[in-house]
Symmetry: D2
Subunit: 422 residues, 4 copies
Amino acid sequence: MDFEYSPKVVELSRRLGDFIDRYVLPYNAGWHRSVAAGVYPPPFLADMKALAKSEGLWNLFLPGLRDDEPGMCLTNLEYAPLAEIMGRLPWASEVFNCSAPDTGNMELLHLFATPEQNRLWLRPLLEGEIRSAFAMSEPDVASSDPTNLQTVARREGDEYVINGRKWFITGAAHPDCKLLIVLCRNAESEEGDKHHSHSMVLVPMDTPGVSVVRNIPIMQHHSPEGHCELLFRDVRVPAANLLGAAGEGFAMAQARLGPGRIHHCMRTIGQCELALALMCERTLERHTFGKYLADFSNVQDWIAESRLEIDQARLLVLRAAWTLDKLGNKAGRVDVSAIKVVAARLQTRIVDRAMQVFGAMGLSPDTPLAYFWTWGRAMHFLDGPDEVHLRTVARQELDRARENRGATAAYFTLPESPSRME
Amino acid sequence: MDFEYSPKVVELSRRLGDFIDRYVLPYNAGWHRSVAAGVYPPPFLADMKALAKSEGLWNLFLPGLRDDEPGMCLTNLEYAPLAEIMGRLPWASEVFNCSAPDTGNMELLHLFATPEQNRLWLRPLLEGEIRSAFAMSEPDVASSDPTNLQTVARREGDEYVINGRKWFITGAAHPDCKLLIVLCRNAESEEGDKHHSHSMVLVPMDTPGVSVVRNIPIMQHHSPEGHCELLFRDVRVPAANLLGAAGEGFAMAQARLGPGRIHHCMRTIGQCELALALMCERTLERHTFGKYLADFSNVQDWIAESRLEIDQARLLVLRAAWTLDKLGNKAGRVDVSAIKVVAARLQTRIVDRAMQVFGAMGLSPDTPLAYFWTWGRAMHFLDGPDEVHLRTVARQELDRARENRGATAAYFTLPESPSRME
Amino acid sequence: MDFEYSPKVVELSRRLGDFIDRYVLPYNAGWHRSVAAGVYPPPFLADMKALAKSEGLWNLFLPGLRDDEPGMCLTNLEYAPLAEIMGRLPWASEVFNCSAPDTGNMELLHLFATPEQNRLWLRPLLEGEIRSAFAMSEPDVASSDPTNLQTVARREGDEYVINGRKWFITGAAHPDCKLLIVLCRNAESEEGDKHHSHSMVLVPMDTPGVSVVRNIPIMQHHSPEGHCELLFRDVRVPAANLLGAAGEGFAMAQARLGPGRIHHCMRTIGQCELALALMCERTLERHTFGKYLADFSNVQDWIAESRLEIDQARLLVLRAAWTLDKLGNKAGRVDVSAIKVVAARLQTRIVDRAMQVFGAMGLSPDTPLAYFWTWGRAMHFLDGPDEVHLRTVARQELDRARENRGATAAYFTLPESPSRME
Amino acid sequence: MDFEYSPKVVELSRRLGDFIDRYVLPYNAGWHRSVAAGVYPPPFLADMKALAKSEGLWNLFLPGLRDDEPGMCLTNLEYAPLAEIMGRLPWASEVFNCSAPDTGNMELLHLFATPEQNRLWLRPLLEGEIRSAFAMSEPDVASSDPTNLQTVARREGDEYVINGRKWFITGAAHPDCKLLIVLCRNAESEEGDKHHSHSMVLVPMDTPGVSVVRNIPIMQHHSPEGHCELLFRDVRVPAANLLGAAGEGFAMAQARLGPGRIHHCMRTIGQCELALALMCERTLERHTFGKYLADFSNVQDWIAESRLEIDQARLLVLRAAWTLDKLGNKAGRVDVSAIKVVAARLQTRIVDRAMQVFGAMGLSPDTPLAYFWTWGRAMHFLDGPDEVHLRTVARQELDRARENRGATAAYFTLPESPSRME
């Protein structure tokens, strides 16, 4: 057991941090001005990406990269602290070609793409030439139970014909978004096994019948990449656009989510660290009723609680990353459910405290806090509501208890207590 | 970074667990019957201790043991999982000569005892022949601010004369308790530096003038070892009974607390794991309103929350142990404050859930839960109230913020926001 | 709408408070000394009761008293503030013949007793000559779902023969406890309607076959009146000891609980007010790290939160009392579930804060806090666990929502949102 | 004590509810479309106001109205349930000329305006012909401590010259906003009593030197009425524009806040009731993992908790309204602080649960929830952060404890406990 980052990770963190400090952060205000002016992505992004790529700070997230693919081939545990650093600035991940949902999509393609799919989609994604989206959630059903999904892909000759509605599809409004990976119910398997009746289909964004109904604001926040509502009306794609095996869509989606959630969670940690730093600085500047906020013991409690919570959460996420590396995505499934809940709560709780310390300014767009909270709140359902993940954790715990029935008996103080005896 | 216990620890854990399962747990009901009948310690304890010692499961807690001293010389990180195992059964630590407050006292003596003090007190403690207590808290003052302590040691010739009152002195009612380490204010240094005006004095339990006023119940729980109120009236001990340097009592107490808190916290983790296991088993047995408690989603939430909280807390405690090993007790001071708060909250929170699942039985003495809660509640002030430790954590955080003033500026969305500008 | 107590209540509160201050409180320490010495009830209690009775401060809790019965015939709303005053001192209610479970039992008898039952049991209870207990909970089943109850009454000729085990039967250890009201399953109706298969039977305490197995401590607190485990082995009572109609035991128990819970809740409010007062006084006396606890903003937060919570809870309880008076016990059923949850939480939360302010002393028996917490914790399942009551509240809410389906539609910001449309 | 609304209030509630159902709610979607299209206020508002006025549903909030002034002259307690009804639909209050900050401003003018000020400003406000804003908060200081305010009014001859910056000034972007009531520090009294050195000045919106720097979004929500940042640069108004006495600005602001906070809190209750109704309906429609959300016990807990919290909060707010009516705004100051904290927490907590039940849709603009949460979050600092109000409550509690020193002594279980004795 060792709680220190490896020298390789320490060095990479330093390089990444320096790059951001020097080349990215100075453009932060410019970024927001550009987006506010409707210019998205800002023109300077392409140069930043090129520079990051040339320095090798590129595709840091993908453990299984082949030699001929650009990137570093880091483990999840190695990538985690880098995701934390990128997370502090929400638009930074794209600079290093590490932004969701592309990361998960590249992972999926890396595992399942045919050579042709690889050439057409994975390669441009790895190069940062295009972006993509993953279309799963639907407006009319509880998408957390994926057997509810209604968007249908019907096989007609050499084509799939897709009909349905998706929403909160992140990234679909990005001008460079060229690919949708769509989770569809197979029209054919309607009577079959509910967990083997969905498939993933690659749908080019410009396919006739695909329309972006709207870009849905989240807590009034209008994201430039979009969380879009999409309509699929008789959308036809070649049968060769099936990704992986037919009917395996769920299992693939499940596998896809593990590392992606680690990334989300570590970015959350980064945002929480920043929120805590902002809160601390503010308490040192703000004076009221005769003293600095930093000298009020209730504010001190908030600061200390935040530190305790962040440190615990980070350790849990890192351990989950280590588990994925060591035992595989499937074995880490419950650990990943656990961190998803922990991270979402962490973010809304800590940012909420920071907002309170900032007063009205904390709700304004002048600080990153309002957006951080919004994103944290969304994480409470992103990839499944907290409650579904808690259920997953509880079930594992109960399974263990079933296996160990009777193991606690000897610890009862009064083993012959009536309710034990009879 | 590595989240796996070393093979040595895995092996030791197995051995310790086996020992407890085979030789200790079967006597659990007997222990409670004996204590209820006023026979304490139960007669079988001595044999158990001898067996544990002969198997080398002895003094597992002390990293700095010399070759000629009995014990294993484990690091804090190695000992931590063993403390967790022992913690499940509150009276088990004594079997392995690992029970508080002896552990902390042995540590103190190990660091500061003169050869004579070593011979008289440390050796018998290491051998498990006697027990001891540490007398710090006082009834009339907030002991969390140690400059408040009022018990005075006045030098008269070759003697110290001690007067004062202490309370909640754990272990002082144990029949084998032969030694008190008493934190006293030096009569001489009253005008001096408040943080260098206290000393530790070794007071044999049978010194004239020492009296046990009462054994104070905690949440109505009457501990057989006692949390005693002690009166010191003109208690005279040789000047040679001074432990360490005069005026250094605080610094020594501070140092003493680090590893001891790790132990407490890991025992807490052990109790919380047991409480969770009890809760899970119970939900699988208890049927109400047409289904098992295990099938209610609110109960599932409690189970899952408990798992998330325990796992996070354990990682934080282990990291603190690792820090103490790596950087020393002083460097780990804030980490130790952090885990103390986390562990106390963990214990009352998780045990409370378990009690609720058990219904009225959870408050009865038939399960270990009521005692676990009580001990957890006491931990909220034991060695300083939570609030003092939170303050310690907050101060470190604020110090860092002071050093990094301005580091967050570039993250503001609107750097020219009026409240930043002017 | 009016938030002022009536002049009658104000006057009664003053009289009751004066009586307690003058005649009861001065004996508080004596009470605890007597109980500790095993003398229970203390000899002075009888005189106090006689004095209270002679001043008319007697049976204040029973709205339906007849002219020839001793007592005041107050409404629930009038009694509530008096229960709050008595609640501050846990043993005070008995002085005024207002202690549970006698109050609920008198209410039951008042509603359902035959003239003979009245003469034998109600009259002596109203006069304060005997005490009684109500035997419902059982160790082997989840008693919150009363259809689980297993104690059986079998009709044999002119007798009922009762077999079973009950536990946590409050009051059964009181030396004056002469009557048990036992909720039994009818042996005959085993196949019938689960909610009409239980009856209440009056069982004199000294009936052969009734035995007190033990007095179960609650959080290690050994109550002198007892929370007892009782064994019924072939206990024979005349058929005339049936209380009310056969098979109506549940409905009667339900009705019984309404006013009794109001009383519990108001006593809780009284204890919470006292805990808050204790906490405030302590913060004004205790000095640490250079200031009084009262000057720390986190402690101020605790005080303020406590005030907000107590005031809200009291209003809710008073409104429930008003509802019972106005609409009857049945109509107030959900309101009574609501206050039961609110009061239990209030008590553990506020007393916990007060204990923290008192430090270790707060866990000791020197203040009333440890006992208050214990009682509050027990309230989380007393008369049904919180979760069962929350379920009751939720069901009413959901029923209302079902009736008002569609009422919220016009408030949707985007009525044509896809998930509304389709 | 009586918990029923008076017949007058019941009748008014019915009339108001009917009016909203019939004439206002059907325009809800149209309202949002109009605002989204930049047409604010929507053209139909004027007709609605005229209709409401003609039906006498006008200026319901102002207890002190004179006969010749339009409105109903209701007490705070009578108005409270009407505010709750209006609160369900955030834009409804304006229909009845009951929207903040006009209400508070009318109240101030009603108390302090000279006949000329009355003619120029109060009368048009009462008639609903203009709107107004109240300029207090400043960006550079903690405005919760009003002695921090920096905007200066300097007397020059017959004029005041105002310089400074205000922000989060609600209503200042409304096209009909003609009047700012500005809280200024008196240049002259800089050395004087901090609490008597500020004045209120009436500043017509079109005075040269007044500029709206921006309309600040709150949690990304861009309010059409605005929460504006205002700059005052050498703004000159006649000395006759002083409102009330010079130096009395704080006392006046304090008085102004009482009823206004009642209104805010009751509107909060209305929004929370709606959020709960939305949540319940949703749980009856949404099906996942084999059952309706309404059948999950954790969701039931959320529903029940929400009911308990809303009912308690409403009672507390109504009692505060009753106190203001009975004892005046000054006597009710602490009660008003209390409800402000309770209501803000209520709103974020309940709406958060409702959002979770709605999943991603709950964060979208399709339901009113995201806005309700935003407004609730803002209430945590609106008119002073929660912490300042908690402090006010705590201080009153501590003052009472000081007055009653020793009152708890007799309740100690062990009066001779050492920490009491010495």
